[in-house]
């Protein structure tokens, strides 16, 4: 089997991809109705972003 081409993502791109995939899975596993799923996916994605960026900013003073 051929090896895969290396994928290079920035921190933020990897973060967005991670948040999107996990939010989607959580939404489908956690809710049954389509409308509830969409709300849950968007809310989960939003929280991933807020918490991730928040932790990033909280660590900023210690980064140098």
């Amino acid at each position: 089997m051929n090896h895969m081409r290396e994928l290079v993502l920035s921190h933020f791109q990897a973060f967005l991809l991670f948040a999107a995939v996990i939010s989607l899975a959580f939404g489908f596993l956690g809710r049954r109705q389509p409308k509830d799923r969409i709300k849950y996916i968007l809310w989960s994605f939003f929280l991933f972003l807020v918490v991730g960026i928040g932790i990033g900013w909280a660590m900023y003073p210690f980064s140098r």
Binding site: M1, M4, E6, L7, F18, I22, L24, A25, F28
Partner: protein, 146 residues
């Protein structure tokens, strides 16, 4: 109204299910969870939860593919410390995809750079997510979750 009449009107009380009667349901639920672990989404597909099956399959597959493409570390059973063992257990959570990842990974890991380190996290997350989905399939089969 006499007690006799009362008893005649009452509906028959159902006997609680015996452990022997529960066993097939429990075994089926465990079987579905096992199927979901071996092939992501299969536990839900066998319960005709097509949307969930597809999403679990695609999510776990995508995370594994991205993790391997980013040259993340796929832990083996010959770990040096507890963290390697934990990583192995998380990676093994992807079931058959673990072996697909090992087959795809030919250029080695590169955790010296952030990209490879992110890949390692993607792979571990894929495993944990699949274990969560297998647990959900088990709970759904037991009638605890819809």
């Amino acid at each position: 109204m006499s007690e006799e009449t009362n008893e005649a009107v009452q509906e028959p009380v159902q006997e609680p299910a015996s452990p022997a009667a529960k066993a097939p349901s429990e075994q089926r639920a465990l079987g579905l969870a096992f199927a979901g672990w071996i092939l992501p989404g299969l536990g839900h597909a066998l319960q005709r939860m097509w949307g969930r099956a597809l999403i679990v399959f695609v999510s776990v597959g995508l995370l594994v593919a991205v993790g391997v493409s980013m040259r993340g570390n796929i832990f083996s059973s010959r770990g040096n410390d507890a963290f390697d063992t934990l990583g192995y257990m998380a990676d093994l959570g992807t079931g058959s995809f673990y072996f697909v990842a090992r087959a795809l990974e030919r250029s080695g890991t590169d955790v010296a750079h952030a990209n490879g380190d992110y890949g390692t996290r993607f792979l571990a997350t894929a495993g944990v997510l699949n274990l969560l989905a297998a647990l959900h399939a088990y709970e759904a089969a037991r009638g605890r979750k819809a």
